[in-house]
């Protein structure tokens, strides 16, 4: 008798894997020559203004609305939509700068009202996963303990699908979801300006540092604005991940963390 799941490791059943990781991981190996082509990145935020010169184009997207009558408390309307605040456009432009040929998708979950927000965030993430997104940029968070289980379930699902969920951590020194989970790439701002300046924090929960202080970012009406927030640090990491995936499709989230750690500015 064999325990459950043991069949997966039977000779003939177990697939050969290509670990892809070289002996020494360099930036040249990681993303040299890559433009992020073929990689789908979902900006789960306030919408994206595709006409902004720094964004270029939006490949598609959906608006998620709270709906108490829907099975999971939210419904999805696919199609073009505007950016309600400007923030999603800022994130999209940061990702575009690092991965010029990546496909950007807008998943608008912010707006309207707050009631049902957890269900809306979750449904937006589900839409992104169901539509084959490789990277999900989540420059948003909640401290609400009610959502702990819901987000845990979805981020785990993303991890097992090899989707990279990149989350801005909250500024307050208290748990915030989904940035709190080990399965996601949690990001806070460091004071650097170089978009390729990436730090790895060996003492998580915040694992990665990227620019997010006093940056000139894209905003509504084709303009730019000077802004600060961890929410601008996350898309820097999303962009780098898209760039790396463009060159090494099929990397798993744990491999991606290894690569980012190896090429971090504070790595020896």
């Amino acid at each position: 008798m064999k325990p459950a799941w043991a069949w997966q490791f039977e000779p003939g059943t177990l697939q050969r894997i290509d670990t892809q990781l070289p002996a020494a991981i360099t930036r040249e190996w990681a993303w040299g020559g890559s433009t992020g082509a073929g990689i789908k990145v979902a900006v789960v935020d306030s919408g994206i203004d595709g006409s902004h010169p720094r964004v270029g184009s939006v490949a598609g997207g959906a608006v998620v609305l709270a709906d108490p009558d829907a099975t999971r408390g939210a419904r999805v309307i696919e199609g073009p939509h505007e950016d309600l605040f400007g923030h999603g456009t800022a994130c999209a432009a940061i990702i575009r700068a690092a991965a010029p040929d990546a496909e950007l998708y807008s998943v608008r979950v912010l707006g309207e009202k707050l009631t049902g927000r957890g269900a809306v965030f979750a449904e937006g993430m589900r839409w992104a996963l169901a539509n084959g997104m490789d990277v999900l940029n989540m420059s948003l968070s909640t401290s609400r303990a009610d959502y702990y289980g819901l987000f845990h379930e979805i981020t785990d699902a993303a991890y097992f699908k090899h989707a990279m969920v990149v989350c801005a951590v909250n500024n307050v020194r208290a748990p915030s979801y989904p940035s709190q989970y080990a399965s996601v790439f949690s990001v806070a701002a460091h004071s650097g300006r170089d978009p390729f300046h990436l730090d790895y924090n060996p003492a998580p929960p915040v694992e990665f540092g990227a620019p997010g202080i006093d940056l000139e970012v894209a905003w509504l009406g084709g303009k730019t604005i000077r802004a600060t927030g961890n929410s601008f640090a996350a898309p820097h990491i999303s962009g780098l991940i898209a760039r790396i995936l463009g060159k090494h499709p099929g990397l798993t989230p744990f491999q991606m963390k290894t690569v980012l750690m190896a090429v971090a500015d504070n790595a020896s």
Binding site: L110, T142, A145, N171, L220, G221, R226, T228
Partner: protein, 244 residues
């Protein structure tokens, strides 16, 4: 309502009201925004709280330029920088707000004062989101954006605790009054509270039960009340340690 219940309720309110009621929530928030404005050397600081439908933010307290115009102002939560902070659960600082055409027009119409910079942080506990604190035109920080945000986080935490405490007290008061209002003629408050505890939705059940316990405590002697207060105090210290 039963006469007994009414008498009990009046007694209970008189005994416990001054102890439980968080003194002057609005005054506290006002003092907080005044302090924050001074610390940041800012043109203005304000706190807006979400309405019941969570569709609008209403400015409750403000200090500095345009304070009178700001208090009472309502803005939809799906607009502007403060709105984004609330819906995204993330702090944000913008240093040239005038570049945001929609925001500038909205604000100019309402307060007449269009700031250059704005820093907004959500007021959020692990139970719910209450609103936002924002600082307008703080001193030129020159690369200290991150430190400013850490500092504002401390003010936001205080404001959140104050608002949450006040709302818990209101809920407790509501539970008491509903129990009294629904008491059958001749029924005393204890059994009315029990009914209320059973009928309440889960989140409020604990509050109703707590009210029941306070009711019973209030009838005990002074020494017993003192002992109970010490036990609650010790438990709180223990619970806080566990949370750390």
């Amino acid at each position: 309502m039963g006469d007994d219940a009414l008498a009990d309720l009046a007694q209970l309110a008189a005994d416990l009201g001054p102890v439980l009621r968080p003194r002057g929530n609005e005054e506290f928030l006002q003092a907080l925004v005044e302090t924050a404005r001074l610390v940041f050397d800012a043109a203005a600081c304000s706190i807006a709280l979400l309405d019941e439908d969570e569709e609008q933010l209403e400015f409750r307290v403000a200090a500095g330029v345009g304070a009178e115009m700001t208090v009472g102002l309502r803005i939809p939560v799906d607009r502007g920088i403060a709105g984004w902070a609330v819906v995204a659960g993330q702090p944000i600082a913008i240093d040239d707000v005038r570049q945001d055409p929609r925001f500038a027009a909205d604000v100019a119409e309402t307060t007449g004062y269009v700031p250059r910079s704005i820093m907004a942080m959500p007021l959020e506990s692990e139970r719910r989101t209450f609103g936002v604190i924002e600082v307008l035109d703080r001193r030129q920080s020159g690369g200290e954006g991150a430190e400013d945000m850490e500092l504002l986080a401390l003010f936001a935490r205080q404001a959140t605790l104050a608002v949450e405490t006040s709302q818990i007290f209101s809920n407790l008061g509501q539970a008491l009054f509903e129990a009294a209002a629904l008491a059958a003629p001749g029924e005393d408050l204890r059994s009315a509270l029990e009914k209320r505890a059973i009928a309440a939705p889960r989140a409020q059940t604990e509050l109703a039960e707590l009210a029941l316990l306070f009711h019973d405590l209030g009838r005990l002697g002074g020494e017993e009340r003192l002992a109970a207060a010490r036990i609650v105090d010790d438990f709180l210290a223990y619970a806080r340690k566990r949370q750390r």
